[in-house]
Structures are given as structure tokens and as C-alpha cells.
């Protein structure tokens, strides 16, 4: 953990060379200046396959400094393969301190979740984005989607929501739910559950989005209006759960379904592992949880 980059002389600090970081920082600055606008950038090959967070990793590498504290989550969890390997990647190449505690981190790279704890002004949230273009599956031509963004012609996005209501009786999209940023650009918030959408609104933390394969960076600056698209008679509703977390009893967090055996047994637990652990350490116990005691340590 305390290794410094000098131990790895073969690498520049945080893997990318300084010219590349400069290029990415310029893209980030432009993205912050135009909230929700997708800025093209010269995405590099990273030592991981596309789809594993190459965009997020490049953004993180470009903003990381030696004193930063990094947290990486994958579907809210600090302990899954993607999260562990990206955390180790930056431990090795940047020598930065890493953490699983949301409050301690200054940079949080995430795949598909926003932490439950409210983010603060000194924190940056970096999203890994597979498909940055919210209109992509409605309009395959990039030239056309760019024109639609330029002219703010977003009727098409509502056609998609209309189709959902016509088919299912409600807006069935539960993740990557499109939002309007600062009353101007329609943006794909990456495949986070729509449960997390309200957290983007007026967030104190800077939010950066990196799509490596699609070569796009976009951003939501702190305290920016972010509105989930909807119809007047079918307003946006964040997902609600009809039961609390089985381990910590939280009723206000996003839950994952975990299959516990091959006879239909299942439990619903917080997807944000740090949130769940913190609550259990505070003495909250769910229906299937065991109290955290001194003896258990």
C-alpha cells in the first residue's frame, strides 16, 4: 500500500504518459464547461479489455495525484474482480493510498452504482461508461445523433419512453435511465440503476464519465440540475424495495438479490458493501444478519 511509483520505474505515475494525461484533462475541462456534452478524446489502449472500465481508468489516471485516496467499486461492491484489479492497478502504477471507505476517498471510480453515502465537495466520482450515446439504439448514425444533440431535438428519447408505457403500462427502464443535464443535454448516466438518478442532481461532488471504447468523456459539474426524463402523467419514480437489507436492515439503500441455495432460497442485501458494513458495525442487524460483536473479530 505504501509503495511509491519509484518502485516501478518502468511506469510513469498512474500508467499514462504526461502528454496523454494532458489530452484527457483538456477533454475533462471541456466536458465540465459543457455539462452533459460528450467530448471526443483520443482513448488509449489500456492493459485491460474494452468493457472492463478502460474509459474510467483513463479518467482516473488523468486526475489522480500522489495525495489522492482511491476507492473503486463495481456494482457497489469493493470486493469484486473488476474493483479489486483496478484498485491494485493504481496501487502499483501510482502508489496512491486506496480505501473501501466512501468518506475517506477523494476519487471514487465506479461501475454501475453511486455510493449510498452523500458525496462531498472534495470528492470526484468517475463512472465507467459502456455506451455514452443515449440515442444510440434509436438512431444508429453518429452524424445524426450529434445533430440531434446540437439542436436539442430530443423528441426521440421520449418516443422510447412512450414505447415502454405502451408496452408495459409504465416506464420500464430501470437502469441507464436518461437524464437532462442543466436543461440542455440529454445524457446517459451509464448503467446505474434509476434508484441512483436523484443522487446526481445538485451533487456536491464532481462527476466524470469515461467511455474508452467509444472514446467519449462527459461530466456533471458540482451542483448541477439533473432531471430524469418522464411524462407529466407518468412521472419518474426511483425504484423502491418492499423489504429491508437482510444483513443490515437498511430500508433506504439499493438491494441486490443473492441466491443462497438451489432450492429457491434468496436474500436481498445492500449492493453498496461499505454502506452495509458501516451499518452493521453501528449495530444494525437485518433478518438474516448476525450481530457484529467483539467476539466475532
Amino acid at each position: 500500500m505504501s509503495r511509491t511509483a519509484e518502485n516501478y520505474r518502468g511506469y510513469n505515475f498512474a500508467y499514462l504518459d504526461e502528454q496523454t494525461k494532458r489530452m484527457i484533462r483538456r477533454a475533462i475541462l471541456k466536458a465540465i464547461a459543457i455539462p452533459g456534452y460528450q467530448v471526443p478524446f483520443a482513448s488509449r489502449e489500456m492493459p485491460m479489455p474494452y468493457g472492463w472500465g478502460t474509459g474510467g481508468v483513463q479518467v482516473t489516471a488523468a486526475i489522480l495525484g500522489p495525495t489522492d485516496v482511491l476507492k473503486v467499486i463495481d456494482q457497489g461492491a469493493d470486493d469484486t474482480t473488476n474493483a479489486v484489479s483496478i484498485r491494485q492497478f493504481f496501487e502499483k502504477t501510482a502508489g496512491v493510498e486506496t480505501t473501501t471507505e466512501t468518506e475517506k476517498a477523494t476519487v471514487i471510480q465506479t461501475r454501475h452504482r453511486i455510493p449510498e453515502a452523500k458525496l462531498q465537495a472534495h470528492q470526484v466520482l468517475v463512472y465507467q461508461v459502456p455506451i455514452p450515446e443515449p440515442l444510440r439504439f434509436l438512431e444508429p448514425r453518429e452524424t445524426e445523433t450529434r445533430t440531434l444533440h446540437a439542436l436539442a431535438e430530443y423528441g426521440l428519447m421520449h418516443v422510447r419512453l412512450y414505447e415502454d408505457i405502451a408496452q408495459h403500462g409504465h416506464i420500464a427502464k430501470t437502469y441507464a435511465y436518461p437524464v437532462l443535464v442543466a436543461d440542455r443535454y440529454v445524457m446517459d448516466p451509464s448503467p446505474i440503476p434509476k434508484f441512483d438518478n436523484p443522487k446526481m442532481h445538485e451533487s456536491a461532488a464532481l462527476q466524470l464519465f469515461g467511455a474508452g471504447r467509444e472514446k467519449r468523456i462527459y461530466a456533471i459539474p458540482p451542483h448541477t440540475k439533473v432531471v430524469s426524463l418522464d411524462f407529466e402523467d407518468h412521472p419518474f419514480e426511483a425504484t423502491k424495495f418492499d423489504q429491508p437489507c437482510a444483513l443490515c436492515g437498511a430500508t433506504d439503500s439499493y438491494l441486490d438479490e443473492v441466491i443462497t441455495d438451489d432450492r429457491g432460497g434468496r436474500m436481498f442485501v445492500c449492493s453498496d458493501t461499505h454502506h452495509c458494513e458501516t451499518r452493521r458495525a453501528e449495530g444494525h442487524v437485518g433478518t438474516l444478519g448476525t450481530p457484529v460483536t467483539e467476539a466475532a473479530e
Binding site: 431535438e153 423528441g155 426521440l156 421520449h158 418516443v159 402523467d233 407518468h234
Partner: protein
């Protein structure tokens, strides 16, 4: 129906378009009054479609201008409009009915969504109201409203064409461009579609620029005809006059080539 006191809705002034050395169309001028149906006829390659694309702002002319009287009464040159204004015009005040409905419809989106798209495009955000309007238009173009959630891929050619018309008319445009709207349909379906178009045009007071090679379609729908050959307008006049008493040799050939049923 035609208000003669008002100024023309659309004016073409010396429109020319060249594809390299080839002529797309050359020095075409005419005026279209509100509520008037103008047919552009001629054989394949005579420049009909080029002219239609010039008029609808999809192609930029090499010479000439297209002037359009906006809803606020001001006449503007289409070339002077910004792209945003032109696109807004195209999805509110205009309609475009393609020969192949696949080019004019979203095939992956239900009939209701297809009709509602323009409404949502101009800011309607009320699902119930959009759906109600879509149902109204479906019945108006004689499509069973139980088909509202079916995709156009499940529709017959004639139904697709009627859906395309409904999709275009939902914002109450004043001008509709039609490119061979009955092409590729069998005659009985054609006849019903023509009936429908004729009814809608009369009810809504639509101005139409209709491109067709089918003289009987032109006779049925249009008030005036332009005959094109090799990119030039060789004859223009009232439909009945042109078709009953053609002056140019080529028009005479065209008229005499129609098979008597």
C-alpha cells in the same frame, strides 16, 4: 379553397442543381398557393426528385432560391434559415411522404409512437394526450385503433403508407411533399389511398407538392401540373388543360402512353 388574396405559400425562383456536368434540374420557377396541389410529372431521371429535394430544403441548389411563407406570415428564403429552423419547419409545418414507407417511418417503433414522435418533438410531455391524438389519427386514416401498439413491420404496404401520412399530418402542417405516394401498391389499395389523400387534402386545406410518374394520380389529386424532361420544366398549366390538351410533343407522348383501363 385556394385563397387568391393571400401571397403564395412557396415560391421557387430559377432553381438549378447540377451533378457535375449533368443537369439535375435547371431554372425551375413556380409559385404554390396555400391549399393548392401541384403535381410534378415526368419519366424516371427527369429531375422530379431532385426538384422535390430542393424544394424541401434537403438539397442546396446551385442557383436560385426557395421562398416560404412562415406561419407568422413572413416570407423567408429557405437557404437563409439555420439548420435548426429548417428542421423545425420540416417537422411541424411540413410533411414528407416517401414512396417507401420504410424511409418515412420508424420501423422498430409502434404505430402510436410513430404518430406521437412529432408531438413529443415539439414538447408534448403528456402520455395520455399523445395516445389519444394517435388514436384519433389512426381512425382518420382508417387503421383499426387496436393496432396502435403494433409495429409497422406487421403492417401491409397500404397500411404503412396510411400510417406515414398520419405521422406527417399530426402537427397540422400546411405543406406536404409526396414522392410517389402510391408507388408499389396494387390498384385497389392505390384507389383507397388516393381517396384518403384527396379527402384529407380537402379537409385540412393542405398544399401538396406531389411527384409522380402516374398521370392518373396527378389527374385525380392535383390542380396544376409541371411536366419535366431532362431537368427542365417543359410544360406547366392546370391539370385538366395539360392532360386533355398537351402542347409539347413530349407531353403528348406521355399522355398518349397511358394505358386505357
Amino acid at each position: 379553397m385556394t385563397n387568391l388574396s393571400a401571397s403564395p405559400l412557396l415560391v421557387a425562383e430559377g432553381l438549378s442543381k447540377f451533378y457535375g456536368l449533368r443537369i439535375g434540374c435547371r431554372n425551375v420557377s413556380f409559385a404554390l398557393e396555400p391549399g393548392e396541389v401541384l403535381a410534378i410529372v415526368g419519366e424516371s431521371g427527369s429531375g422530379k426528385t431532385t426538384l422535390l429535394n430542393l424544394l424541401s430544403g434537403q438539397l442546396a441548389p446551385d442557383a436560385g432560391a426557395v421562398r416560404y411563407r412562415m406561419r407568422d406570415g413572413e416570407t423567408k428564403n429557405l437557404l437563409d434559415l439555420t439548420e435548426a429552423e429548417r428542421r423545425f419547419l420540416a417537422r411541424t409545418d411540413w410533411g414528407f411522404v416517401h414512396q417507401d414507407a420504410r424511409n418515412g417511418l420508424r420501423m422498430g417503433v409502434s404505430a402510436g409512437g410513430n404518430i406521437g414522435e412529432r408531438l413529443m418533438g415539439v414538447g408534448d410531455r403528456h402520455y395520455g394526450r399523445i395516445r389519444e391524438t394517435a388514436q384519433g389519427w389512426l381512425s382518420r386514416v382508417e387503421i383499426d385503433i387496436s393496432r396502435i401498439d403494433d409495429k409497422p413491420t406487421q403492417f401491409s404496404g397500404g397500411m404503412r403508407q396510411r400510417l406515414q401520412i398520419a405521422r406527417n399530418l399530426v402537427t397540422h402542417p400546411r405543406l406536404v411533399f409526396m414522392d410517389e405516394p402510391t408507388g408499389g401498391l396494387d390498384v385497389s389499395v392505390q384507389a383507397r389511398l388516393l381517396d384518403l389523400i384527396r379527402g384529407l387534402v380537402a379537409d385540412l386545406g393542405l398544399a401538396v407538392v406531389l411527384v409522380t410518374h402516374d398521370l392518373s394520380v396527378a389527374r385525380l389529386l392535383s390542380h396544376r401540373i409541371l411536366v419535366m424532361k431532362d431537368g427542365h420544366v417543359i410544360e406547366a398549366g392546370l391539370t385538366d388543360r395539360v392532360l386533355d390538351d398537351p402542347q409539347e410533343a413530349y407531353t403528348q407522348l406521355l399522355v398518349s402512353s397511358v394505358l386505357a383501363a
